[in-house]
Each structure stands twice: as C-alpha cells, then as structure tokens.
Symmetry: C2
C-alpha cells in the first residue's frame, strides 16, 4: 500500500483512522487553517494544498461535517463552529425545534502526492436525538443515531462505530484506492 502521513489536529480522528487501518498510522498533528465554504471538496482541497506546502510528501487530510435536513444541509463542513457555540445538544435542539431531526454525517478523505489525488467519501444517514447518550467519540457522536440502529455513535466503542460511521466507510474506500493505485 502507498505510504502516507495523516495530517489532522483532531486526536479522535487519528484514533478512528488507526482502527480502520488496523494498526499504526504515521501522523502529523497540525491544525490547518480552513477556508469558509459549504462545499466539502473545496475546503478539503485548500487544506490539502496547505498541508502539501508544509510537508511536501504523500499525505491524507480529512474533512467531516454534519448536514442537517432542517437547515437544507447547513452547517455541513462548518459544524465545528456550531458545536463550539451550542454543543452537540444545541445541534439536536435546533433540528428538533425546526421539526426535522434527520441528519447526514459525512467524511471526505483526500490523498495527495504532488498532483496525484485519491478521494474517498463515507456518509451515514441518521437522526439527532435528545438527551445525549454515550461517552465515546467526539463532536456530535452523543446525539447521532444512525438509521437502523439503537445506539448513538457515542455508545459504540471504536470498532463498532467504525463499522457504521461515515469515517469508517471513507477509510475503507481509501484503503481500497491506496492498494489499487
């Protein structure tokens, strides 16, 4: 498989990548500046370009987000800031107040080696629930109930979450791409 360094500022994302890849992952802790956009790929490509400028070797960057049906997809890749302002419960409360608790967890991975790019996406449909449940994970995990399950992301331990999560799906696709490339 092609080697790479995973560049992220989020330890939770590193832990989930390790689980998905079944072992060691070389990582570089860096909180890359992100541009404002509702377009995941636009945010991701700008982040990859900046990481490439800093490191200059094969790397993977990630962009995750939460699309609320009640807000026509907002906040999407900007969810980090809504979490900072109102927390996971605030996300769920907003969706409930607007009368539509459906949401989509999304994760995009981009492998970059100079001009070569590999792109993988994972998405998980679900609903936002209150009160929050579970203590694992991060972000909106405690209020996100994937469709067809009875446990929130935060009630699942790593491998269980990886099986159903947007991030687990994206990493499995990326692994296939890296092995085939």
């Amino acid at each position: 498989m092609k080697p790479f360094v995973l560049v992220t500022g989020n330890l939770g994302k590193i832990a989930e990548a390790r689980l998905a890849l079944g072992g060691g992952v070389e990582t570089e802790l860096a909180d890359l500046p992100e541009i404002q956009s509702l377009d995941y790929m636009e945010v991701l490509r700008a982040k990859a370009a900046e990481a490439w400028r800093q490191l200059g070797r094969p790397l993977i960057v990630e962009e995750a987000g939460l699309d609320l049906a009640a807000l026509n997809g907002f906040p999407g890749p900007l969810v980090k800031w809504m979490l900072e302002a109102v927390g996971a419960e605030g996300l769920a409360r907003t969706a409930a107040a607007l009368g539509d608790v459906r949401a989509t967890s999304r994760c995009f991975l981009l492998y970059k080696d100079g001009d070569q790019e590999l792109i993988a996406e994972g998405r998980t449909e679900g609903t936002l629930i209150l009160p929050r449940r579970g203590t694992h994970g991060f972000g909106w995990d405690p209020v996100f109930l994937p469709d067809g399950t009875t446990h929130t992301f935060a009630e699942l331990t790593g491998p269980g979450k990886g099986a159903v999560s947007h991030r687990g799906k994206a990493w499995r696709e990326m692994l296939g791409l890296l092995e085939a490339a």
Copy 2:
C-alpha cells in the same frame, strides 16, 4: 483624510460605504478567501493580509455577521453560509423555533497600510421577524428589526439604514479614525 481602496466582493457593501462617506470611494472588487472562525477579528485580519499581498497599498476590508442569541452567537461571521443554505427567512425561522428572536448585527472595518492598522466596529441590536418586510439592502436586512424602530433594515433606504445600521456606525467610527490619524 488618509486615502484607501475598499476591497470587497459585495456591491451592497460598496453602496453603503459610498453613502456613509458622502461620495466616491475607490473600490477593488475581489472575493477574498475567508478562514473559518467565529472570531470576527481573526477572519478580518486574515482577509486584510491576503488583500495586502494582492494590492500592496493602503486598503480597508470589512467583516460583517449576525449573532443569534438563540445559538449563543452562532453563526456570527459565518452567516453568509447560513443565508446561502436557508435564506433570511430560515435565519428568522430558526431563531423563532428556538424561542429567542434577539440578534445582533455586527460590522468590523480594518484599515491596513503595511503594519499600521485602524479598526472600527459597529453593532445594532434587534430582533428577527417573519414574514420578511422590505426590498432594499441585502443579506438578513428583510428580517432584521433594529430595537426601538418600526422598520426592518430592508424597509429603509440607504441613508435611513446607514443611520441605524451596524455598517453605518462602523464607517462613521472609521472616518473619525482616518481623519485623526
């Protein structure tokens, strides 16, 4: 008064600057990339640095936003994207659904000449109303009712809006700073 070029991608902002300054303003139409943050000054400084890299002469950039009390200040400087997703009515509907329609319109201006900076801020408290009223202005103007008034921003013509608006207040402060500098 110190000369400057106003750098923005928003024609509405140019029109309001012209009114506030009582005449011609040199402008440069540029949609500068903005970094993700809830900190107005952080977004503004990054934008000013990029504008300075591109133009290399005295300039002013603006950052405006809407802080919703119901969302603990969110979306703030990210309001552009919430407007893109759900429109002005969506902002008002969200605040109403959450049971708190108070909001603050904010505008920051930054004059930059190399390392020299002048910073002005204007803010207007108000409430978000439905249905939308008025046809002037842009952004959240049709649903924003400034405290102590009976007209939304969009029901006011330019000079009337400038007298009470976050942007008018910021420009008046900036004019004083430019004349005193």
